[in-house]
């Protein structure tokens, strides 16, 4: 063996040894020796979250529930438990390997791993995946819109009877074949959403919070709505290269809405971790009492002000551009979340490979006023700024009202709607809402999740829409359609997305202003803190000092 090869061999052996001993440590009972620097396993992890919506894989749709669910219900393909940009990489989950995709990009073939079992011991069948997709429609889950690209799904969504011919499952061979109506570059990421997690065939469509047997390293053992839930080890789980066994034996999650209380629990040692939005006036003093982590990417988000391009005065592009000039984005970060946000003028957050930082509208109130004068719109017309009854939304709306007044508008009022009816009200074309607050938290890491959903003409719906600006630019629509088919985000494809984004911002249907950063707070005893870019704190890998 040459010297170089010997080194390689040695390194390989060492890596295996390290991996082996880490596996032993993870398997091990409390207090086993490890080769790493004096860390102990966590035992019971006590976390405090503010709220979750559901613990039913076909229903869960918030970042907080995803935090828990991705370690409980594994999907066919999933994401790696690593930090940094590698965490966006799609890897096999329940599937034995990544699928084979046909040349025309419309057929995906998967094979399940051998010997998969649910947490109740029953085997996982290929047909269970098909049932999960059906259940998504049967239970009128919030994710149905993602799966209508499968052949036969649209028909099934209307009748809720019969079969979805586009999914063929062969249980003895453990294969799943999915046919799409037309190719989509984001299909794998859609399959990695929790909605597509296989569940035992015959699980009732009615909400099952925590009762459905799980396939991941943990299972939910108890759920007290609005109060707490508990996760324990799934004894039938077999770790793979991509889904490791977890560190904690047990995870007890309390649901406490008040941020001060949640943070206090961690400071007092009654909890190990919280994701509460720490009030900005005490964040530095809180930081000194524990370990504070800021993660800018989970979930990737953009907070923006939308301007309805179909209602005066925002039909005029100069007015919209003026608003973009008038906002002092740096000040807004401070006002709304004490500085824990990054100013942005882009639609996409910076986590996307296609991201090119835009600065089309450097802050200038004089330029804003000038543009407004040039536009010739009536400055005394009534403008209603819409916001949601949540403190950050109200803060932005109040600030924005002041900005509009400084620009020259004389009649600007606020309309603050209850949390639960805000989106459906502004998403209803009859409301004719002029402008207001909104945010988008990504569903999955692909530009289509943004441009097609939020700024694409043909997807505008009369009710419950997401395109609050009602932006329908024919040229840009065509460009989006052209790029949509591309199966992989190559540099060339990314350049096209960047071009689309710049054109959109030149038309300024939005005034994006922040990518928010969420604080994660740990007690001083916690260590091995890793942040998965999509799911946030990877509590699977936590350990104690």
């Amino acid at each position: 063996m040459t010297g170089k090869r010997r080194w390689t061999w040695l390194l390989g052996v060492l890596a295996m040894a390290a991996g082996f001993s880490m596996m032993i440590a993870a398997y091990g009972a409390a207090g086993t020796k490890t080769k790493t620097t004096s860390t102990k396993p966590v035992g019971t992890l006590r976390a405090v979250l503010d709220t979750i919506d559901y613990l039913d894989p076909q229903q869960a749709y918030t970042a907080q529930s995803f935090w828990a669910m991705w370690d409980v219900y594994t999907t066919l393909v999933t994401y790696r438990h690593v930090d940094g940009p590698n965490g966006f990489k799609i890897v096999p989950g329940l599937a034995a390997s990544l699928p084979t995709v046909s040349a025309n990009g419309r057929v995906y073939k998967f094979k399940l791993r051998k010997g998969l079992r649910y947490s109740n011991g029953k085997p996982v069948k290929a047909s269970d995946f098909k049932y999960a997709i059906k259940r998504e429609f049967l239970s009128t889950g919030q994710g149905v819109g993602f799966y209508t690209g499968i052949v036969g799904a649209k028909k099934f969504s209307k009748s809720l009877k019969g079969d979805i011919p586009g999914i063929k499952a062969n249980n003895p061979k453990r294969t799943i074949t999915i046919r799409l109506v037309s190719p989509r570059g984001d299909f794998l990421t859609i399959l990695a959403l929790g909605f597509a997690a296989p569940v035992p065939t015959g699980t009732p469509p009615a909400i099952q919070n925590g009762n459905i047997p799980s396939t991941g390293p943990y299972r939910i053992s108890n759920y007290d709505p609005n109060r707490s839930f508990t996760m324990v080890r799934n004894k039938y789980f077999k770790p793979t290269k991509f889904v490791p066994r977890g560190g904690p034996n047990r995870v007890e999650v309390s649901l406490i809405g008040d941020a001060n209380s949640a943070v206090q629990k961690v400071i007092d040692g009654q909890a190990d971790y919280t994701n509460a939005a720490i009030p900005p006036d005490r964040i530095a003093s809180v930081k000194s009492k524990g370990t504070l982590f800021l993660h800018p990417t989970a979930p990737a988000n953009t907070y923006y002000i939308w301007m309805n391009t179909t209602v005066a005065p925002f039909t005029n592009v100069k007015v919209r551009q003026a608003v973009n000039y008038a906002l002092d984005r740096k000040e807004m970060q401070r006002i709304v979340w004490g500085g824990l946000g990054r100013a942005t003028q882009n639609v996409l957050p910076s986590t996307y490979p296609s991201y090119r930082k835009l600065n089309l509208y450097p802050h200038s109130m004089s330029k804003a006023r000038q543009l407004l004068n040039q536009s010739g719109v009536n400055k005394s017309q009534k403008i209603t700024v819409w916001a949601r009854a949540v403190s950050d939304s109200e803060a932005v709306a109040t600030y924005y009202q002041g900005v509009l007044k400084s620009m020259g508008f004389t009649n600007v009022v606020l309309n603050i709607l209850p949390r639960t009816t805000y989106y459906t009200t502004i998403g209803n074309v009859n409301t004719k809402a002029q402008t207001g607050w909104a945010r988008w938290l990504e569903d999955y890491p692909h530009p289509l999740d943004w441009f097609e959903v939020l700024l694409y003409g043909p997807r505008i719906t009369a009710q419950d829409g997401n395109n609050y600006a009602y932006f329908d630019n024919k040229k840009i629509n065509k460009e989006i359609e052209a790029v949509r088919k591309a199966p992989v985000l190559t540099p060339a494809v990314n350049a096209k997305w960047a071009k689309i984004e710049k054109q959109i911002m030149q038309q300024a249907p939005w005034a994006p202003w922040s990518n928010r950063v969420w604080p994660e707070f740990f007690s001083k005893k916690m260590s091995c803190i890793h942040v998965q870019p999509l799911f946030g704190v990877d509590w699977l890998r936590l350990c104690k000092k």
Binding site: T148, T420, T424
Partner: protein, 327 residues
């Protein structure tokens, strides 16, 4: 007696019906957003919205929806298994409303029964002392505190207490809100409830004390008390036998209604400030979310208590004051 019971039962049902109808009308007629759209979520399909409408019956005329909702409410209480669409479930998170109310009962009952005992006892004590020592410094002191007690917003008192006793000190005396079930840890249960009990009672102690004092002073001047005194009965006996017994009658009535009100979810503010996730807290959440089924559930639950206790109180009235007969 049976006539009384029957008449009250009919009255109860009538009130519950009116109350539920009122709540329903408010929510159907006042625009609050289409529940089907809300449930369909962020990326809805028109087909999905249509399915939701059909399954939940939002496309029916409002009287059909009302009847269905009452049916669901009833199903939730009766034993037996029912499908998801046959019981009251929240629009917001599709949870079984009756079960949610049941989950909140331990916290609400612990808070209200404890506070009820405290405020009744101290209210009477305070009232008696200030009536007996009327005009003296003890009376004036008590009156001052009572007045402050009834002038203080319950949630503000809660915030102040919580801040000074449970948050600010380096070693806080009391825990910072939350509820520990009695079955899990009795000492912690009581510990977590001390501040909320005090907070909820203060208002009522002040109020009852003043009402009792005023009633006792009136009774003490009435003819038959003077007669009893003239007959030579000792002051104490006069006090206990005659005065107190008659003065307590309005207190009984007040207590019945107040206790029913807080038990029925009326302690919303206290539960919210101290993070006791009881029925009142659940009510406040649902109302803030414009979530009709829980609102209906909690309203019926609350009205039920008020109506039952109101009947009990009338009954007790008759028992305490022989001049009154139940009608």
């Amino acid at each position: 007696m049976t006539a009384f019971v029957i008449r009250r039962l009919i009255g109860m049902v009538a009130v519950l019906f009116m109350v539920s109808l009122l709540v329903f009308v408010v929510f159907i007629l006042v625009p609050g957003g289409d529940p089907a759209e809300r449930m369909a979520g962020k990326n809805p399909l028109p087909a999905n919205i249509a399915n939701i409408r059909k399954k939940w019956g939002f496309d029916q005329p409002f009287y059909v929806q009302y009847a269905r909702m009452m049916q669901k409410a009833l199903n939730g209480i009766l034993p037996g298994r029912h499908g998801e669409y046959d019981i009251l479930t929240s629009f917001q998170n599709r949870q079984d409303v009756v079960k949610e109310i049941q989950r909140g009962l331990p916290a609400t009952f612990s808070l209200c029964i404890g506070a009820g005992i405290i405020w009744l006892f101290f209210g009477i004590v305070v009232g008696v002392i200030s009536a007996v020592t009327a005009g003296r410094w003890s009376d004036r002191l008590i009156t001052t505190f009572a007045l402050i007690g009834i002038s203080m917003p319950v949630f503000f008192l809660g915030i102040v207490l919580r801040y000074f006793l449970a948050e600010k000190p380096a070693h806080p005396i009391f825990p910072d809100g939350g509820y520990v079930p009695l079955t899990k840890d009795p000492t912690q249960w009581a510990f977590h409830l001390v501040l909320p009990w005090f907070c909820l009672s203060v208002l009522f102690i002040g109020f009852y004390g003043r009402v009792l004092r005023s009633n006792m002073l009136d009774v003490m001047n009435e003819e038959y008390v003077r007669t009893a005194r003239a007959k030579g009965l000792s002051s104490q006996r006069v006090l206990l036998r005659h005065v107190l017994r008659n003065s307590l009658i309005p207190i009984v009535s007040l207590f019945g209604l107040d206790f029913a009100a807080v038990l029925g979810g009326g302690a919303i503010l206290t539960e919210t400030v101290f993070d006791l996730k009881g029925v009142g807290w659940y009510a406040a959440q649902s109302v803030g979310d414009l979530d009709l089924p829980p609102i209906m559930g909690v309203t019926l639950y609350g009205s039920f208590f008020i109506v039952v206790f109101s009947a009990l109180v009338d009954f007790l009235y008759a028992f305490l004051d022989p001049r009154i007969r139940p009608t």
